[in-house]
Amino acid sequence: MSKKRAKITEFVKYTSVAGVGTIMVIPFFWLVSASLMTLNEFISVPPKWIPSNPQWHNYVDVFQHIPFLHYYINSFIVAVSVTALVLLTSAMGGYAFAKLDFVGKKPLFRFTLSTMMFPAFLFLIPNFYLIKLFGWVSNYLSLIMPFAVSAYGIFLLRQFIMSIPPDLIDAAKIDGASHFAIFTKIIIPLSKPALATLAILTFIGQWNSFLWPLIITSFSPQMTTVPVGLSKLSLAFSTYTNQNLILAGMVLQVIPVVALFLYMQRYYIKGIVLTGFGGI
């Protein structure tokens, strides 16, 4: 009887997960599908879901129209650097705010939170001034440094590090471990799911970033990133020009993000292992 009930519960669970999942994945599916369509199929109403004759050459054409590989490399340099810096600074800040006791902790934490509360357009002009002042206009630092620290990341890591049981840290302290050792040997390994999450979100944010790179790379086109490069395919006042190339370009743009997401899945394994430190 209860076995049967469990089976029904399972069935309901899987069908609802699949049902909602379909709604979530449809636009992504359509994007991939539309990137293989002809213009006529693309604009047909109701929308077509499967191209009758897949236009694989759309993908080749992207590389012939714009130096896509070059844009890819630029985007990689920027997104990987920013992600690495954000992970490092967020873990450091998160640890300090979560586990250390110091003068000015509360106001500093609130200050950190408050940096998220200003809209991005406010920073465009002042930050461009600074970048010019530092002489970074034609340097990758202009695309990396303004995003090297993320209040969001610090907050995220703080919340996760807080839930690491204090007994672990106390035990390590008794063994004579330094704060630095605690950070690298306990905090970092135990924060892996949170770090993986932050890595994915930061990478996506940088990978898709548009406005700031557009302004910077209009002065130094050799640093053009993928989204900015793709925007060079769309022509002002021309609704359909290069539509197929733009869609194919978007799919190419998404691939590294998908790869990263799938790779990071290894960090979402069941539960955290506490036994190595004597358990709770």
């Binding site: 604009i43 461009f128 557009l214 209009s218 002065f219 021309s238």
Partner: protein
Amino acid sequence: MRRVFWILLLVSIFLSFSAVAKTVLVIQTHWSDYQVNGIFNKSGKLIYPGLKQYAEEYMKLHPNIEIKIREVPFSNYLQQLIISHMAGKEADIYDLYSLWGVQLVSSHILAAPPKEIINAVKRNFVPASVKGATINGKVWGIPSEIDDYALIYNKKLLSEAGYTEPPKTWDELVKMARKLTKYNSKGAISQYGFAFLSGWNSAVVHPYLSLLYSLGGSMFNKSYTKCLLNNQKGVKALNEELVLFKEKATNSAGNVFNFPQNTVAMMIMAPWYVRSLKQAYGNQYTKYVGIAPIPPIKKPATLSYTWFFAVDSASKHKKAAWDFLKWFALQVQPKTNTTRAGDLEVNVISVIPPNKIDLRNHQKQLADLKVFIDQLKNAIPEPNVMQGAQIKTILMNQIVAAWNGQKSAQRALDDAVAKINSILARYYH
């Protein structure tokens, strides 16, 4: 030996100086892809040069000049211009939408053109485009593009409903639109007899102003101290639009993608849309797409707007910049009797060239835009007023509110005028 060394040193110093002395001209444009890089045939041969090839040609003629092209998408163009100018990294030459020009002129960002260029523009260009490039009574650049509005209709849908001709008057258009509007089983519009576009301010405001001009109305008084839209003509123009909305025979949900899906019978649009339609319809274009003058309420009229080439006042090479523009946009090539800019505008960008000589000598290539070109004689340029984009957005918001039944025409225009007048009061006395 020593002498050789000194000679080499002197030569290298001289060379490095001459390299430094090379004049760099930066051209900022909203054009991109083939518009900049040129159109090639399948075997890789250049058929029509883009901006880049013209720049290269000029550099060959003037080895001391280096031209750099800065591509910036239309939607971020002004923003990029503001930020680069603030930081002292401005371009030397811009292609500008006339409405932006007002703000730039009043902030002293544009350089006044040399007398001979002003005279050449006044002499050789279509009057509407000269007015478009005129701000506070002075010409500020060389027009690069002129656009006006016309009725674009779906021949197939019209003939299915028994119409062989597009409407000749606005009343006729309304009657036809009623008949051409179709609904699905749940009462939603499945085919627009006439579609009003929305989504950006020109799409809403320009057709409205075209109707206002047809009534002989005007948006401002001569000195720009008052907005006149809430007078009897302004309200009538908006009420003419509202007829179809009130009968639920149209709504503001239509977009530029609907026409090639054959769900729009008629709409008012600018020449750039023709390019999109030709792409969407391919060789079926002439079978489906018809273009006619906007059916007048009273007299034939249409609104026009202009783009023009201008030079930044902070540019260190203003003379070189104007010299390039003269060569590019004014000099007539003996072989074709057209200008280089005209060739680019017609063959590559597909816009109406504002230079009369280009209009005359490109007739074959411009055949699809014939109605638009003919209507230039009835075109009234968009007013070059301070805070033009802001004023246009205010007007758009009020018109759309009226379309959706939130306000009456009178009330919407009263609200718009109150806001617009308070802006005008800050700049015009």
